[in-house]
């Protein structure tokens, strides 16, 4: 699928932190009863991972699973595996009440890297971005400036942000502006 392109086509910016279009990423919205063992078994079979606790994102070799709401997960896999993963889940849950849908193309994904990633996001997200407010491994569904976004930290210097594809270039511009060199409040250090 070499013709497939992400919104900003690999663009990157280096300022107070680095902003990078993280490219295409397979994403599956799974809605269902998260307490149902069949559902967690289906997720395990498809991704090799168990279910994350509320607000957490769990990572494994074949992707990640994020808790999005009491009846919704977001499953991350390779872009090319999204459709087949949906099919796997659908087969496993045949006859059950659930919804699994490929939303990979409806999203843009950005990777932020540097010592100020928390402060860049705090310029637009009404979220407690302190380490105790958003520990590594927790995902937040919120907004960034005027648009919806979700993000998590995989360590103190790496943050991944997902937004809708149609506003991908807006969000990229927003992130680059927020990450302008010398503009971070630098609350610590």
């Amino acid at each position: 699928m070499s013709d497939a392109v992400s919104v900003c086509n690999g663009a990157s910016f280096s300022g107070a932190v680095q902003v990078l279009d993280a490219g295409l990423c397979g994403m599956i919205t799974l809605r269902g009863d998260l307490a149902d063992e069949k559902l967690s078994a289906a997720v395990k079979a498809a991704t090799g991972m168990g279910l994350p606790k509320p607000r957490r994102i769990k990572k494994g070799k074949r992707g990640a699973v994020a808790w999005m709401s009491p009846d919704e997960l977001l499953i991350f896999v390779d872009y090319d595996l999204a459709d087949s993963t949906v099919t796997k889940i659908e087969r496993a849950l045949q006859g059950q009440y659930f919804l699994a849908v490929n939303v990979s193309d409806a999203r843009a994904t950005f990777a932020l890297q540097g010592t100020g990633v928390r402060e860049v996001i705090a310029k637009g997200a009404p979220v407690d971005m302190s380490p105790q407010g958003l520990p590594v491994g927790e995902i937040r569904r919120t907004r960034l400036g005027q648009v919806a976004a979700a993000f998590w930290l995989s360590d103190e210097e790496h943050l991944t942000l997902v937004c809708f594809r149609s506003v991908g270039s807006f969000v990229y511009d927003w992130l680059c502006n927020a990450a302008t060199e010398g503009t971070l409040p630098r609350l610590t250090g």
Binding site: R31, A122, M129, Q146, V147, S166, A178, P185
Partner: protein, 1004 residues
């Protein structure tokens, strides 16, 4: 003359001289000066003119309460009006100009208003509305508008940048004086997260100026040590140059950080608006000194006594050579003593109290200063500068006892705690008669969701004026905040402080007590808005009893200083006029921001390309590079048409329509909303949402559906696709996807929560490309990969598979009446598919087309557009869409409403087609149809309006649709549409389907 002294000035660095200009004059100051202190140091006492009478105005205060010293700062793209000289830090090259004068500050023609003062009484503005009627428009309004207003509007786009910053903390402490620092230390030791903010660049507040001793050392030394201890705490954040601007519900507060106002060469944002979520807020915001109300108290050279002390101690600036002190309390003696000790002359201390026996008065007397107790100022003499004051008895009505030459007056009417932040979110005040002040009532704080108070006032802001009480109160406030959050604090581990003891204040609201009308007319309450004691008395006399009404009638406290100096004095005068107690009259409402903040800070980063999010389809960039003439469609941009070089917009639209009808067109329809609805109850759910039956739709088929709200009105339309037994895909309008998805979720979450249905908005998952026209099938065949024949893919069916090697879902649906396919491919492959389609379509004359061609073609077919033919008051029956309303269903949203008498009235406006008599004339959009005789007012009865109107290049004549009263019974009638300039367009009512009524073109 005010001047710089050789000594004093703890905040200025005399080794760093700075240059600046005021009204073009080159002046000098020092690093650490404010613009106000530097102006005074240069002998510039006169800084502006008042709002109404254009009276000369001098600097009164040293902080954000300053009413007069407003200047225009900077130039060009960096110009900003109405900046307070007292809160503006001096920097090299600063450019300031005074405001509200014409032609010059020194000589102002508007000052003639002063002579007319008896014609500008309280409520003047409102009275001009009353009589004579014409006078407002022709006489008063132009004069008032011309004379009023502060500052100039910037003429260029702001060159600076701004941003927001969200911050969460356990405890926010506003105010970096000794109370704030003490509170931060106690709170910081608990381990909770603490944010301490201070509006000025310097910490410690007034303690150093007032000679406070803390833990046996000078306040300045203690502050340095306290700051060092706080900086060592990882859980404490200190920010100076950051003002607490407002307190809102749920512990939300605004912090206004000024990053480069003090040095515009610093790169980055100029202001940062902190949006703070705090579990507890401690307001350690200090107090503001009150002026005294005596005649001539607005003449330049009359200042607050505390400000005189500030300028002397902080900046080494004397307000004058002969500074008279007038007071009703001991605190102002500090200023007299400081001036005397600085070698300046204090000709007298006029104390309204019958006796002054406190330590400070005794010290003043011991220094040889003349203290006149039981006395008052009768009148201040002077024009642009104080020259003398007359002395009289406070108890009398102004009989002159003496005249004392002076060039400055330091006044003190006592101190008012800064209760603004406490009050913003509903904290109540109580009147402390002993101290003559409103102070926070700890029993009635602003309360959070659980009923607990979330703001705690501390120190002077809580009504404690003595340093020891301040420290004790601050420590207790911090401990209370910490304990409320479940942590431990020990308020006993606080510092102890010592200040000079002070004897009680005597409330003085009028000086002298029995001042007559002549003096009252010259006694100012609000210096910026020119409100005098006589104005408030007149308002009371005219029946104004509420302080809020009096404020608006007299404009007291409505200037940009929001009455920081005038409110208490004004309401005291009102109380006296009404023979009521002050607490009975009460204060006006305190509203954020505490002090004006920049528009830039409020806008944040949202300007230029970041002003508003723009949604882009996967084909956006290609369209942009290929002549797209953009139009906004909800938050999307869609191409109205794609212009070729040399082509007008109209020519492009005509070409696109004709080419699509004759050959084949390519449309980016990606913006259409797409919502997956899945579950055992999905069919039942859609039967409720749509007016027609969706549960009977066969897998693999498409059906056009209408959605109404509970009131029966049409809210959206689109094609519903049945993907599998329990899965539907609902297409919505481009602007409707988020709204309809929310609509679905609302019903599922609030009403039908037990139905087994999940929804997902997949609008952006797919690029959706329309291939439309008689040669559409040939193009798809050329792309290859799927059987798109009439048999394999009939009208209103869909197929899944591969097209041109890309996985795709192909719908055989048509919004143009042509043979038409809409191909949904993964958005990331949208451009790739578009390119392949363009290449394959070349041989068939394919051209892309835009939304206007789409609109004209749908109108030729009589298809409605949500938002054109609907306006929130239209039901499907009005649009001849009764065929899409199921009669078999027990219920659907809107069904019952559509049976109401008004909804079944045959005279409702109904959709008709229109053909103009002159086929080349196109009716204007929204033109009104009229009928019947003209009424007395020259109007005719309006019977409806045009909803869509175009020139149809396909048909060679204009076409229009309109909603007309009883329209379906008017076929063949000719209607009149009066348009501008007496022109009347006549059009015949026809069937709204203008082209191919049988649908043969699409069904091939």
């Amino acid at each position: 003359m005010s001047a710089r002294l050789a000594r004093h000035g703890r905040l200025i660095d005399r080794r760093k001289p700075l240059q600046f200009t005021f009204n073009g004059r080159h002046l000098h100051g020092y690093q650490g000066d404010t613009l106000a202190s530097a102006l005074l140091a240069n002998g510039q006492t006169l800084v502006g003119r008042s709002f109404k009478y254009h009276r000369p105005r001098g600097i009164v205060a040293a902080g954000p309460e300053e009413p007069n010293a407003l200047v225009g700062l900077g130039k060009g793209a960096g110009f900003e009006p109405n900046q307070r000289a007292t809160t503006t830090e001096l920097f090299d090259g600063l450019i300031a100009e005074s405001q509200n004068h014409w032609p010059s500050l020194e000589f102002d023609l508007g000052a003639v208003n002063k002579a007319m003062a008896r014609f500008f009484p309280a409520g003047f503005y409102y009275k001009t509305f009353m009589f004579p009627r014409a006078a407002w428009e022709h006489l008063f309004e132009p004069i008032v508008r011309g004379a009023a207003g502060l500052g100039r509007v910037p003429q260029e786009k702001d060159k600076d940048t701004y941003e927001y910053f969200y911050h969460t903390t356990d405890i926010l402490i506003v105010g970096g004086g000794i109370a704030g620092l003490q509170a931060a230390e106690i709170a910081g030791k608990s381990g909770l997260r603490v944010l301490l903010i201070e509006q000025t660049p310097d910490w410690g507040g007034r303690a150093m100026v007032d000679g406070v001793q803390i833990n046996g050392i000078g306040a300045a030394d203690w502050v340095e040590k306290a700051l060092a201890r706080l900086r060592a705490m990882p859980n404490v954040i200190l920010r100076s140059r950051m003002m607490g601007a407002g307190v809102y519900d749920h512990g939300y507060a605004l912090g206004y950080e000024r990053l480069s106002d003090h040095d515009p060469k610093i790169p980055g944002p100029r202001h940062r608006l902190w949006r703070i979520r705090a579990r507890r807020i401690i307001t350690a915001t200090g107090a503001i000194e009150r002026p005294l109300s005596f005649a001539g108290n607005d003449i330049p050279g009359v200042m607050l006594a505390g400000a005189v002390r500030d300028y002397l101690e902080n900046y080494g600036v004397s307000p004058g050579e002969l500074t008279l002190v007038v007071t009703n309390n001991d605190n102002a003696y500090l200023s007299a003593i400081a001036l005397h000790e600085a070698g300046l002359t204090v000709p007298a201390i006029i104390d309204a109290r019958p006796e002054a026996t406190g330590a400070l008065p005794q010290k003043a007397r011991a220094l040889g200063l003349r203290v006149e107790t039981g006395c008052a100022i009768g009148t201040v003499h002077g024009g642009k500068r104080v020259t003398s004051v007359t002395l009289c008895n406070q108890a009398g009505s102004g009989a002159i006892l003496d005249e004392i030459p002076c060039d400055a007056v330091a006044m003190s009417g006592g101190w008012s705690p800064v209760v603004h932040l406490w009050s913003h979110c509903g904290g109540k005040l109580r009147w402390d008669a002993d101290q003559a002040m409103f102070r926070p009532d700890p029993a009635r704080p602003p309360r959070g969701a659980n009923g607990a108070g979330f703001v705690i006032a501390a120190g002077t802001a809580n009504g404690h004026l003595a340093a020891e009480a301040v420290m004790e109160d601050a420590a207790e406030a911090a401990a209370a905040a910490v304990r409320a959050l479940g942590a431990k604090a020990d308020p006993a581990k606080r510092a102890t402080a010592r200040s000079m003891p002070e004897m009680p204040i005597l409330p003085v609201w009028s000086m002298p007590a029995n001042a007559g009308p002549k003096l009252r007319m010259k006694t100012w309450l609000d210096f910026q808005n020119d409100v005098k004691v006589s104005d408030v008395r007149l308002a009371a006399q005219e029946g104004y009893e509420s302080v809020e009404h009096t404020k608006r009638y007299t404009t007291l406290g409505m200037a940009s200083d929001q009455g920081k100096l005038s409110n208490i004095n004004g309401l005291a005068v009102l109380a006296d006029s009404l023979s009521r107690d002050i607490p009975q009259v009460g204060t006006t409402t305190f509203r954020p921001p505490y002090h004006p903040i920049s528009f830039g800070a409020i806008a944040g980063e949202a300007r230029g390309p970041l002003f508003k999010p723009l949604r882009k389809s996967p084909i956006h960039d290609w369209l942009d590079a290929n002549g797209a003439h953009w139009e906004p469609v909800a938050d999307w941009r869609r191409p109205y048409c794609l212009r070729r070089s040399g082509e007008t917009v109209k020519e492009a639209v005509t070409r696109e329509i004709l080419n699509t009808r004759q050959n084949v067109g390519l449309l980016d329809a990606s913006t259409l909303g797409k919502i997956i609805v899945k579950g055992p109850d999905a069919g039942r759910f859609l039967d409720m949402l749509y007016t027609n039956m969706m549960s009977s739709l066969k897998v693999g088929r498409c059906r056009y559906g209408l959605m109404c709200n509970e009131n029966g009105f049409l809210i959206d339309d689109g094609v519903v696709v049945r993907l599998s037994d329990d899965t539907f895909l609902c297409h919505t309008t481009s602007g409707g996807s988020d709204r309809i998805h929310a609509w679905m979720e609302e019903w599922l979450q609030t009403e039908w929560w037990d139905w087994q249905v999940y929804t997902a908005n997949v609008t952006e998952q797919f690029a959706q490309i329309g291939i439309v026209g008689p040669k559409a099938r040939s193009v798809l065949e050329a792309l290859g990969g799927m059987d798109v024949s009439r048999e394999a893919l009939p009208f209103m069916a869909f197929q899944e598979g591969q097209i041109a090697g890309i996985r795709a879902r192909v719908y055989r649906i048509s919004f143009s009446g042509e043979l038409s396919y809409e191909i949904a491919v993964p958005a990331a492959l949208g451009q790739a598919f578009w390119n392949k389609a363009l290449a394959a379509g070349g041989d068939f004359g394919m051209q892309p087309y835009g939304t206007e061609a789409l609109h004209v073609m749908r109108a030729e077919k009589g298809f409605i557009m949500i938002g054109d033919e609907t306006d929130g008051t239209v039901i499907p029956q009005d649009l001849n869409l009764g065929w899409a309303i199921s009669r078999k269903k027990d219920d659907f949203l809107g069904k019952r409403a559509q049976q109401r008498p008004h909804m079944v009235d045959p005279n409702r406006k109904q959709l008709v087609g229109l053909l103009t008599e002159d086929p080349q004339v196109v009716l204007p959009d929204a033109a009104h149809a009229v009928e019947g005789p003209k009424r007395a007012n020259g109007m005719e009865n309006i019977i409806g309006h045009v909803t869509s109107s175009y020139y149809s290049p396909t048909l060679g004549h204009s076409i229009a649709m309109a909603l007309i009263k009883g329209g379906s019974r008017r076929m063949g009638e000719t209607l009149r549409f009066p348009v501008a300039d007496g022109v009347v367009i006549r059009a015949q009512v026809v069937d709204p389907v203008f082209l191919d009524k049988e649908g043969e073109r699409q069904n091939v």
